[in-house]
Structures are given as structure tokens and as C-alpha cells.
Amino acid sequence: MVEVRLENLKKYFDNGRVKAVDGVNLTIKDGEFLVLLGPSGCGKTTTLRMIAGLETPTGGKIWFEDKDVTYLPPKDRNISMVFQSYAVWPHMTVYDNIAFPLKIKKYPKEEIDKKVRWAAELLQIEELLDRYPAQLSGGQRQRVAVARAIVVEPNVLLMDEPLSNLDAKLRVAMRAEIKKLQTKLKVTTIYVTHDQVEAMTMGDRIAVMNQGKLLQVGPPTEVYLKPKSIFVATFIGAPEMNLLEVSVKEKEDSITLEGEGFEIPLSSDFKELLEKYIDKTVVFGIRPEHMTIESVSSLEHVKRSTTIEGIVDFIEALGTDTIVHANIGSGNIIKVKLPGHIPLEVGSKVKIVVDLDNIHIFDKNTEKAII
Amino acid sequence: MNDETKFMLKKLIFYTFIFTVVAWIVIPIIISTLYGFALPRDYYDPKKILPTSFTIKYVKTLLFTLGALDGIKNSVIVALITITISFALGIPAGYAVAKFLFPGKDTIKLSIVALRMFPIPVMAIPLVVLYIKLNLIDTLLGVALAHTAMALPFVVLITSSIFAGVSTELEEAGMVFGLTRFGSFFRITLPLALPGLAAAAMFTFVMSWNEVFVASILTLSHRTLPAQILSIMAGASGGAAPDYYKFAAAFIMILPAITFIFFARKYLVTMWGITLK
């Protein structure tokens, strides 16, 4: 319903000692589902609160379409929000909590009733409508908070970790419901989460934040496959991307990455990309799922690959997957994620196949991606 | 600019309001204190809103001739006995309410709250008969016993909330490392609760220090300060004392209480919040 534009948005606390949000530029398109992802304390809630109008920015501007709302009070912004700690009013029943936004907007009684029941059904809390929040579990309260936020049709829907307290099964179901609802209503949504699966599956785009700054914004697959920095690369994906310090060596017409006790030969087409870094140290990165072990399983659709040798150090059997920790020399451990159960023994020698289309190389100093 | 003016205007109104309220509280105290030390000719001079020449004569007379000093002594003794008894009885009860689960706990807690509401001062009237029989009439102990009845529910509720604030795990850790439950209470819980208890003691002191009805009824010659002042200043027996003595008396009465609460001010709001839950 509206496009939200953050322009060099800043929020400092304690006279500038805490830079909670430090110059964020971001446009959330009309009807877009944007996921704000980042570690604890990076400024996600603060950003959301500024968009809601609960916090006055230290600097910068917030636009809803062509309207500067930076200093507009929350009640005039037509927004809706799920608070991180729910903020479900203890003196109102679940029903009254959900009905509150509608009553404020002076909906007729029957319509309020219809909408409240619809939201309650969607979030599976119909039987709780007459209860007071003190009689609910954390997860139930959270669902009340979500129901209250979606019952009106706001310009912007802000959700601060709305599913964090639900059990795994309910969470999967709710994810789908929220996403479906958002698609149907086409309401511009900003959704804060810690959970990468949530980010990957729900977002039209993901915005990764750290220490008050926006590091990368893009569709989930892009952020996953083409992280622009070491931080984004390691923050998204589990298990984490493997990182190894290597130096770039030119050998005849091909390129080799030399680490302590191991070598990774690259095909010749990397020469051009790494020309500037020859004889310099860089950080090599590869996700565990972009490798395999020869003779155990194969990587499908791999066009270019290379092989490293290692010794199995440890095996994590997760049931659906197996994570093999392999020592590739001088104690450098690399994790390889393989589907299914893998019959490998600790101590056995393995050949690790690396998908060269999915390797990452970062500048050691700037931590920015080169490839 | 328009918004800014509006903002400034709001701020101005806000501070004017705060200032008025603070003045309304503070000015009477300052004025009566000034009058307590004023010369009568300044006080009776219709042109002098504030006195300019001062004397400590009336405070002195009140203290030494009219028995206010003895009143202070008696008040302190009564307050100390009150604190001792009400803490000796109240701390165990408060601890039990805070740290044990037992059948009837809610009822007991509720009845203590209800007893706190009971007009104990008025109950002093029938108490006179008993006190005459027990020879407690006109004794400081007698007054202190009645003050204890008034302060005890307060002490129980406040200590229970203080103890509830000290984690039971700390105490249990003490027991794991070899202390008895009793030892654990004395070595761990009590020291942690001490600041709160000190504040509670000050409140109890002020409560007793200020109480006038019970003290006036139960004593005749051994009067506490408020009772002594009341009998000098008002009522059929004393007749009206000259005005400047009244102001000197007010000064003597409020000084210790204000000083005490100044030290306990950090606890003021929370403590009242707690006891009224």
C-alpha cells in the first residue's frame, strides 16, 4: 500500500555513545515482504521502532511514498506492529486485545466481531478469546499479538520476531500462514528475525544488518549465494561457511590457493579475477553443502570442480544429513555437509570435491568479497 | 517555527506546573520554620511578610521549659522499642510468607493486609481499661506495644517483599556448601536484605514518631513529643499557646522525620508500591 524509504537513518543513544542505527538507506517496495536479519543488538528493533514512530531518529528521514513521516506520531502513520515482547494488554481479554485496533478505527460492531474471529481462527486461538493474557502461555500470547497486528489493514506491517516463541511445528505452519496472508493483502511488511530459515523462506528480499549498518540487501538466494562480505557469508547458512586463509599463487597458466599444509588448485578462468591478488593473502570460503566426498556421493550439476585431500576428524550424524569434519593439513578443519547417513570412519582418508562455481574469495583486510 | 513555538509553550506550561506544585509543598515548611525562629514583633508586624530578625528563644523554651526535650527522649524510646518488637515478630513472619509455600498462605497474607487497615489508634480507647489493670497506663512500653500493633502488618509485608527479592537460590547455594538453613539465613539472606530492612526501620520510626492519638490517650506524664505538643497547643486542657510557640514546635517535630526520610528516599516509592500490593 505504500513504499517505505529510509534515508540515512540514524539513532544514537546515550549522547552518541551507542550507535544503535548508523546511517541506514533502504527502500521497501510497495507490497514487499522484507526480512531484517542480524545478530542480537544490531539495531533491528530500533529501526522498526523508528518506522513505527516510537523512536525519534537522531538523523535521517523516513518516507511513506512522498510523505515525510520522520516526526509523525505513530497514531497518524496507519501502521501495525507485533512487539518483540508482545505487549498484549493484561487487563483486556484476548478478544478485546485483538478488537482494539478496530475499535480505535471505529469499525461497526459486527465487522469487528467477524474480523476478530477470522484472525483468531487463523492463529488457532479461537478457544482463548475469553481469557486474560495472564492465563496464556508465551506462545499463545505471541499469537494474540500477531492476530492483533493483522486484524486491521495497515499501510505497513512491522513484525519483531513474531514467531520466536512458538514450537517448531507451529512455527512452520505460521510462517506459511503469514506469508500467504501478506501475499494476499499485499501490505508492505518488515519482518525482523534471527531465524535464517524464516528469512530464506519468507522474504522477498533480505536485509542483513550488523552494528547499526546495513551490509547487504537482496533476494534470499542472492544473499545466500553471493554474500558481499565475510560477515554476511558466515551469518547466513548452517553450518557456517568454511573460511581458510590462503595465498594466491600463479603456477604456469593456472592459479593455486596455498594454505598451511594444503593446496587448492583452481581452474585457469580464475586467473583474471585474482590477478591483483597474486602472491597476496586472501580468505577462501566454501559452504559445507557445496562440497562432497569422492566415492561417497556426487555433486549434481557441477560444471567445474577441484579436489582436496583430507583425513576424517569427526562425524556429526544429524539424521537427514551428515557433517564430516576433515583435516586438510596442519590442523585446518573443513566441514562438508552430505545428505543422508554416511558410512565413514574417523581417521580414514578422503578426497573432497569442491564446486568451483560456489567458492568465495574475500579481501583479507576489507573482508569484502572478491569472487 | 509554529511547531517549535508550540513545543516551547508546552514545555513552559509543564515546568510552571511542576514549579507550582513543588512550591505548594515546600513553601509552607519554609515559612513555618522561619516563623519558628522569628521575633514576635516581626510576626505581628503586618508589613513584614517574611521576618528579618531571629531568635532561638522559643525553640529553647519549648525544649527545656515546656518538656519538648523529654518528649523527644520518650518518642525515641518508644520508637526504638516499637522497631525492636515489630522486627522481632515481623521478620520471621515476613520470611515465612516470602519463602514458604503452605496451605492457608493467601488467607494469612490477606488478613495481615486487612489488619493493617484496622483502626488500631481508635482501639486504644478500650485498651486503656486493660492498661490500668496491667499497670501499663502512662508507660512508654504501653505506648510502644500499641505502636507495634500498628506497625507490625507493615513490617511483615515489607520484609516479605524484601526477602522475596533475595534469590532463594543464593540461600540454597549456602546450604549446598554446608550451612544450615538458619545459618544460611543469617550469613546470606540477612546481609543482602539489610539495606531494605534499614529503610523499613526508618519508616517504622517515623510512623511511631508521628503518632499522636494512641500516645495522647495512653499517657499523661510520660508523653511522647507529638502528644506533649498537642497538649500544649490545643485542646481544653492546654489552651492556646502563643502562635510563635506553635511554629517552633512544628520545626522540632518535622526536622528528624525529614532528615530520616532523606536517607531512605531511594526506597520511598518502591516501598509503598510493595506494601500495597
Binding site: A134 | I29, K99, P119, V122, T148, F213, F262, G273, L276
Partner: protein, 284 residues
């Protein structure tokens, strides 16, 4: 984890509980006995005597009138004060401290302090005379100025005891999480709606305790009246005091005590009945 134990808690509570029961129970029984017997026989003579005394009805009337004027005003004032102060501003700590000073001041001292302001040579009269607003002092004291005495008592009592209501309500306000208000704001509620729909309902328990406490203490009002008006304005506690100390009429004094106790119980019960905060009770 709380400790489950069979007899220890009772053992710890018993002394305090017994003490309180004695100091409430004994005088109550004693008062009933003194009031309703004569020479060991049941008798309503004292009751008749008391009820025939116009002072009794005056005392009842004035006690209730004072409470009726003072308590609602105090709660209203305290609510405004607490709402005003409960935000970040320069000088907040000092303001709260200043507002709580009267908590420590006894009714006798408060009476004396306000006498300094309102007496014929007091601050107010001299101030108004000197700036020319009045030409004759305003008389607040003396039997012929009883309505002014009433006003003086109200002023002094508002000054002294609004603090306690303020503190109770402020403590209640501070326990309301700011998020409840922010949530309401996000969903479009303006200041007055937030006040009406969120703040006041959440404050209900605090307002209730403040009302109960203040009303019950108002039934016992004594020192401030005794200092400022003596028996010009009779009040229940004052009459009981007078009957006992001056006239040595234990029986009549006991009736006064019983009337105050009865009023307190009645009012306390009424408040509790009509001001339930439902959401607090259904907890567990």
C-alpha cells in the same frame, strides 16, 4: 523453588499473628463489653446517651463530610501529579522527593505548619494585604468561622496526605510497561484514549488501595482537626478522645471507637466488592 515444609512457616508467623489478633480482638471485645453493659447487665443506655448527644451526629457528619471532600480530591490531584511526573525531565528526582516530604510530617505538625500560613498574622494574610488584594485579614480560625476552619483542615490535609496517594499511584504507574502504551499508540490511540483504555484500567489496583487507605485513615482523622479547630468541628476520633481524657466516659468513648471500626470495615468491604480488578484475580 520454594520450600515445602509442614509446620515451620506457621511457627514463624504465629507470634506476629497472635500479637495482632490480640491487639485487635481484645479491644474490640472490651469495647463491646463496656459499651453494651451496665453493672454486668446488657444495656443500651450508653448507646441511647451517645445518640442523644448532638455532638455525636455532628461528629459523624463532619467526619464523613471531610472524607468526602478530601479523599476524592486527593486521588484526583495525585493522579494528575503522578501522570505529569512519570516521564523523563530535568529535576525529576528532586520533584518526586519534594512531593513526598509530607509523608514524613505528622498530622499535628501539618496542622501547626498550616496555622503559620493561615493565621490572622500568617503568611497568606500578610501577603494578600501587602499586595493589596485584601484590606482586612481573612479569618480562618474561631468558632464563628467554622466553614473557614473546615476549609483550613481540607487544605492542610490535602497538603499532608496527597503525598501518600501520589506515591501509591506513581508506584503503580511505574509498573505499567511502556510497551503497553506504545502498542496502543501504534494502533492509533491518542493520548486520552490511551489514558482511558490502558493507563486507568491498569492503575485500578493502585487507585483502589489508595482509596481504601485514605478513606480508612480519614475515618480516624484527629490531630490536624484538633490543632486547627479543636471541638469547633467535632469529629469521631476527637469526640472519643475528649470523652475519654476529659470526661473519663469510657463507655461513650468505646462507642465512638466502635463506630469508627464499623465504618472502616463497611467501607473497606464496599471498595473491595465494587472495585475488583478482574484480570488480577483470575491469575494462576
Amino acid at each position: 523453588m520454594k520450600v515445602k515444609s509442614s509446620y515451620i512457616p506457621y511457627f514463624l508467623i504465629l507470634p506476629a499473628f497472635a500479637y495482632l489478633l490480640f491487639f485487635v480482638g481484645y479491644p474490640l471485645v472490651q469495647a463491646l463489653y463496656i459499651a453494651f453493659t451496665q453493672n454486668g447487665q446488657f444495656s443500651l443506655a450508653t448507646v441511647r446517651k451517645t445518640f442523644a448527644d448532638p455532638y455525636f451526629w455532628d461528629a459523624l457528619k463532619y467526619t464523613i463530610a471531610l472524607a468526602g471532600v478530601i479523599v476524592p480530591t486527593q486521588v484526583g490531584l495525585a493522579l494528575i501529579l503522578a501522570l505529569t511526573v512519570n516521564r523523563a525531565f530535568k529535576g525529576k528526582d528532586f520533584t518526586i522527593y519534594a512531593l513526598t516530604i509530607p509523608l514524613t510530617i505528622s498530622d499535628v505538625a501539618a496542622g501547626l505548619i498550616w496555622y503559620a500560613i493561615l493565621s490572622p498574622s500568617g503568611f497568606l494574610n500578610k501577603l494578600l494585604l501587602n499586595i493589596g488584594l485584601i484590606h482586612q485579614p481573612i479569618y480562618f480560625f474561631g468558632y464563628q468561622y467554622r466553614h473557614m476552619e473546615f476549609l483550613a483542615i481540607v487544605l492542610a490535609e490535602l497538603w499532608r496526605a496527597t503525598s501518600i496517594v501520589f506515591v501509591i499511584i506513581l508506584a503503580g504507574l511505574q509498573m505499567i510497561s511502556n510497551e503497553y502504551l506504545e502498542a496502543a499508540e501504534v494502533f492509533g490511540a491518542d493520548y486520552w484514549t490511551r489514558l482511558r483504555k490502558i493507563v486507568i484500567p491498569l492503575l485500578k489496583p493502585s487507585i483502589q488501595s489508595a482509596l481504601i487507605i485514605r478513606t480508612l485513615f480519614a475515618m480516624q482523622i484527629f490531630g490536624i482537626v484538633w490543632i486547627l479547630a479543636g471541638r469547633d468541628i467535632p469529629i469521631l476520633a476527637g469526640e472519643g478522645f475528649y470523652r475519654l481524657t476529659e470526661l473519663k466516659e469510657y463507655d461513650v468513648a468505646s462507642i465512638y471507637a466502635l463506630v469508627i471500626a464499623g465504618l472502616s470495615i463497611l467501607l473497606g468491604a464496599l471498595y473491595i466488592k465494587f472495585m475488583k480488578a478482574e484480570y488480577l484475580e483470575v491469575r494462576r
